[in-house]
């Protein structure tokens, strides 16, 4: 999973390692935005939300006076952009931009490396450039221990700039300037465990400086333990005093419970599986026999009875759920543990909805015995169990 930093947080990280960014101030109130405009002059007031398309949604305004900054900030701070309430705005001084480039780092799964990507066609989505004119994108896969060597970055630069005649004269100077910038960005990506670290556009200013005009940083959640401060800062910005996070409320609750859960709103069958592949397949099976899954929930390897109980409570919190399908194939997960959790949850939560359990694998005999003694009949075939639960909730929703 990935933690997306806000624009201002990305820019603070860039600035910290010496990558130039435009002067800016963070404002959480209209008054702070007005003060920023007084200090910086003409500024762009930009909504800080972890999602693209905020300009189109009206979340960015260019203002030329403190009063205007106050008014626009008040408007933007009251907005919700694609489900994300705006908690803060970034007020940023303008730039004299001569040309927009793209410089980014992203995880390349096939090559098992971070790819360093440069294009003279900055300012638009790099995926779009890749689709329409792939020759305008230059890529490099540095050795992860050594990072990009200067000659590699120069090769990258000359290759990318070959498609930008306007920059032909400046190409030598640009290539030299890109060497330390690319090396710094690569080090930053490694330091932050970033799987995306993008400067787009990378502005070449009228006076020849390279400035990170916008930034995108996505951090690997598996590495969150190495970046506690960053995570805390992000949590502060995404969760307001009302506890709203902009996420699906069920997914937010699942996160609090520490569950791997994806909500499929409107579905009628709650699904639990152990292991991601099996849990995914559980949804596929329900759909194949005409049911509508309400969620993906992987109780993972070695799940405890308590985790099973918490998972059931989580699923049943959505009133759309009219039955539950639990699909367990024990490997590291032990059938008896899961069975104990199911029985405990049913008794404690007073579950009256139909529950179908398919259980096989490690300690399955013990698990099936526990279920049977509690009056829950376990099945062994997954497609058969899927048919059973769909029948019990009355076919397709």
């Amino acid at each position: 999973m990935i933690v997306k930093l806000l624009e201002y947080q990305a820019k603070r990280q860039f600035a910290r390692v010496g990558i130039e960014v435009p002067a800016g101030r963070l404002a959480r109130t209209p008054e702070e935005a007005a003060a920023a405009a007084r200090e910086l002059g003409r500024v762009a007031v930009k909504a800080q939300v972890p999602i693209g398309g905020r300009g189109k949604a009206g979340g960015i305004a260019v203002v030329s006076s403190p009063d205007e900054a106050h008014r626009e900030a008040a408007r933007i701070l009251a907005m919700e952009i694609r489900g994300y309430p705006v908690r803060s705005v970034w007020c940023e001084a303008g730039l004299e931009i001569a040309h927009e480039l793209y410089l980014g780092i992203t995880l390349d799964r096939d090559r098992r490396r971070l790819a360093l990507i440069l294009s003279a066609a900055g300012g638009m989505e790099i995926e779009e450039v890749a689709a329409t004119s792939p020759e305008r994108i230059a890529k490099l896969w540095p050795d992860p221990f050594a990072g990009p060597h200067p000659f590699q970055v120069r090769e990258l630069a000359f290759s990318a700039l070959a498609h930008a005649p306007a920059l032909d004269e400046a190409r030598g100077r640009l290539a030299s300037a890109l060497v330390p910038l690319a090396q710094t960005l690569y080090r930053l990506a490694l330091d932050l465990d970033a799987v995306t670290c993008e400067i787009n556009p990378l502005a070449l200013t009228a006076d020849g400086r390279l400035v990170a005009a916008d930034g995108k940083l996505e951090v690997d959640e598996n590495a969150e333990y190495r970046h506690r401060e960053l995570a805390a800062e992000l949590a502060l910005d995404l969760e307001g005093e009302d506890g709203r996070t902009g996420e699906d409320p069920y997914e937010a609750e699942a996160k609090r419970r520490g569950l791997t859960y994806v909500h499929l709103p409107g579905g009628s069958i709650g699904c639990i599986g152990n292991g991601a592949g099996l849990a995914m397949n559980t949804l596929d099976l329900v759909q194949q026999v005409g049911g509508r899954p309400n969620n993906f929930l992987d109780i993972g390897g070695g799940a405890s009875a308590e985790k099973v109980r918490s998972s059931l409570a989580m699923i049943l919190s959505d009133p759309d759920v009219r039955g539950v399908f639990i699909n367990i194939f024990g490997g590291i997960t032990r059938g008896d543990e899961v069975a104990r959790g199911i029985v405990q949850a049913r008794d404690e939560l007073g579950i009256t909805l139909p529950v179908v359990v398919r259980m096989t694998g490690t300690n399955e005999e013990e698990g099936r015995r526990i279920l049977a003694e509690a009056g829950i009949v376990p099945g062994t075939s997954a497609p058969e169990a899927a048919r059973q639960i769909v029948e019990l909730v009355g076919g397709a929703h």
Partner: protein, 291 residues
């Protein structure tokens, strides 16, 4: 015949004294796997489950002749453990740890590439050669020696397929769980050629899922190599919405890449039979095996 693992592998366990490490080591011993050592830094000189414990892998190798590592240590230490195993000259490493930072694995796989070790995983269920040995989580009772090779990204679906093949009497040569992370030691295109070199493997079941392009690359390999045995494929995640990670770090449809449809189409075009359910996998295998 088998690939990667048979009764002769001498296995050391990194993390043998942990709760899961200890449980699964006992399961492996019960299955017949030759476990020869444990490695736990600072606890060298002790013993557990009838095998000696060493401080370092290199010492364990020198004293026991271990050639295979089973790595079951917490995520923060796993990539380093994998590199330690590779540096000590082992020929096979199987890492089951889930939740390793992906850039740790970028470095670890680059390091392993410079050694002679083949890495399976991380975040994988391990490898089983029925009747001979197993390393990892695959339940002992599901395998049965036989004719079909299995390679899968998901753990639980690996068990499902093995059980289906065993119950129907076809059995397995070797089953390999390659793992659900975005950066893996081995992918389908690394394992398929091993099955191609194993005359006992008469067909291969490939279990993929949404995310990345490993299945598409497998399809390309099947086509370009002229692989002469039937491939039966199964892809999970047909109902998955784009942009949502379905449990595995690697199972996410991003933009236009990684959908179940694209993978099913690529594999079908390469001549693989694509099954709708696990039951279907077994039926399709049966239709394609010569009696």
């Amino acid at each position: 015949m088998a690939i990667l693992l048979d009764a002769s592998n001498r296995v050391l366990v990194q993390g043998i004294t942990g709760r899961e490490g200890s449980f699964h080591t006992q399961q492996m011993q019960a299955y017949g796997t030759q476990v020869v050592a444990g490695v736990v830094p600072g606890r060298g000189g002790g013993a557990t489950l009838g095998v000696p414990i060493f401080d370092t892998v290199v010492e364990a190798v020198a004293k026991t002749g271990a050639d295979t590592a089973f790595t079951i240590v917490p995520p923060a230490f796993a990539a380093d453990a994998v590199m330690e195993a590779a540096a000590a000259g082992l020929r096979l490493g199987i890492c089951v740890t889930e939740g390793i930072p992906v850039l740790d694995m970028v470095r670890a796989t680059a390091f392993v590439d410079g050694t002679s070790m083949r890495l399976i995983g991380p975040n994988c269920p391990g490898v089983m050669t029925p009747g001979q040995a197993k390393i990892g989580f695959i339940p002992n009772h599901v395998g049965r020696p036989g004719r079909v090779g299995v390679v899968a990204r998901s753990g639980t679906l690996t068990y499902e397929v093995i059980q289906g093949l065993s119950e129907s009497g076809y059995g397995e040569t070797t089953a390999v769980g390659i793992g659900g992370d975005p950066v893996l030691g081995s992918t389908f295109v690394d394992i398929l050629p091993l099955f191609a070199g194993d005359p006992a493997t008469e067909a291969v079941v490939l279990v993929g899922e949404i995310g990345g392009s490993d299945e598409e690359r497998a399809a390309e390999w099947i086509r370009s190599s002229g692989f002469d045995r039937p491939v039966i494929a199964f892809i999970s995640g047909r109902t998955a919405p784009p942009g949502k990670r379905m449990g595995h770090a690697g199972a996410i449809i991003s933009g236009t890449t990684g959908s179940a449809r694209g993978k099913i189409d690529a594999l079908s075009a390469a001549g693989a039979a694509v099954a709708d359910t696990i039951e279907d996998v077994v039926r399709l295998v049966g239709e394609r095996l010569t009696p």
